[in-house]
Symmetry: C2
Subunit: 232 residues, 2 copies
């Protein structure tokens, strides 16, 4: 698939969460991530909570600081998830990507999975009304029916985004998964596709399927790919 108008490179960049969740990455790579996000106009930098303060000091208001909570397994207590989100907001993050307890939901306890997410959403929105919560459902671990249920949990909890994957457990996003999520989520809930997005083709396919935001560690490479296409 080729890069298609009317999606400009700038529009594309503004959909990207520029992501560094390599657990071994040194602080210098955090700084580089921030500088790249400024340069290309990415929506945010997405990194571990420990790096939020550092990133917040480095980027301008134009780039949001996004971080994760209960990542990548989602099996922390609700209290720990809430405290993680609160602390990250205090450190300068405005986007919290929290992993839902999909294991709990998968076993039928939808109520517990919902109240877990809801506690984080409520805490974040109370703290800052411009802050956003993205709920990672780990789509590769869910049947189609469970994926639909997870979208229900995300919507019921009042979250801002449903997000496909951590990138650490099973496969990442697929256009099919994104399309399914788009077909069942209310319009008010946006979609972030993530996990394994390494090429412009994949990125465009996710957007075409209904993704509003893309989480990728390959954003700079994809921008280069797109620029070449645009010139050719």
């Amino acid at each position: 698939m080729r890069w298609m108008p009317p999606l400009s490179i700038e529009t594309f960049a503004s959909a990207v969460d520029h992501t560094l969740l390599d657990v071994t990455a040194p602080a210098a790579r955090v700084d580089l991530l921030c500088d790249e996000a400024e340069h290309f106009g990415f929506a945010s930098v997405c990194l571990y909570p420990r790096w939020v303060s550092r990133a917040y000091r480095r980027v301008s208001d134009r780039v949001a600081v996004c971080t994760v909570a209960s990542f990548p397994h989602g099996l922390d207590s609700t209290a720990a998830k809430v405290e993680s989100a609160r602390r990250s907001l205090a450190d300068g993050a405005t986007e919290i990507d929290v992993v839902m307890a999909w294991q709990v939901m998968r076993e039928g306890d939808r109520a517990a999975a919902t109240s877990d997410v809801e506690a984080v959403v409520t805490a974040v929105h109370q703290e800052r009304d411009d802050a956003r919560v993205k709920v990672i459902v780990e789509s590769s671990q869910l049947s189609r029916e469970q994926l639909v249920m997870a979208c229900g949990v995300v919507a019921d909890a009042g979250a801002d985004f449903a997000k496909t994957s951590t990138g650490f457990v099973g496969e990442g996003a697929t256009p099919g998964v994104v399309a399914t999520m788009r077909s069942v989520l209310p319009r008010s809930v946006r979609i972030k596709a993530s996990g394994g997005i390494r090429s412009a083709n994949q990125a465009v396919a996710m957007l075409n399927a209904g993704a509003d935001r893309l989480g990728t560690s390959s954003a700079v490479a994809i921008m280069r790919e797109l620029s070449v296409d645009a010139v050719a």
Copy 2:
């Protein structure tokens, strides 16, 4: 290597943290883990925070409930680590295996890495003086010099155990790593070897190298192996 006296099977069992950190495991496996720990006399069951309450209700006082914090990456904020540990104690855990910010220490900020661990240790010991903190140093990601530094961090922070590995990042424990840790840690700090321990030979090698506790998902298989040896 064969099973050697005077280490009895019972002594061996009492050194085992019977571990279930498979992120996809259903609740039924948590229950089984608890029942096996009771049956074999393992020191503890070690599982995700979300399962602590369930495990605590199922096991007798003879088996401790052990859980993880900031697992497996260690890059949560200190506040989130502390809250996670506190909540797990409230849910019935008495052993907290927390991942230190080894990435931060590795870059030379030993003070930040120490205060991070110290906050967790202080909170846990204040809450329950019989509770124990094990600090995971992720030995495979450290040079020998950094491993020695990490042991210094663990000791300075007043932790009860230094633990080799999460099992999720790089290699797990080796007898060489355990021996190095033993040679530099004060006697008051015990050692938990973990990550990749799947056979009786490996387990015995870790104990011989100086480990006081073993974290393994293969404890039942190892017990069977040892029983056969004992009978033979």
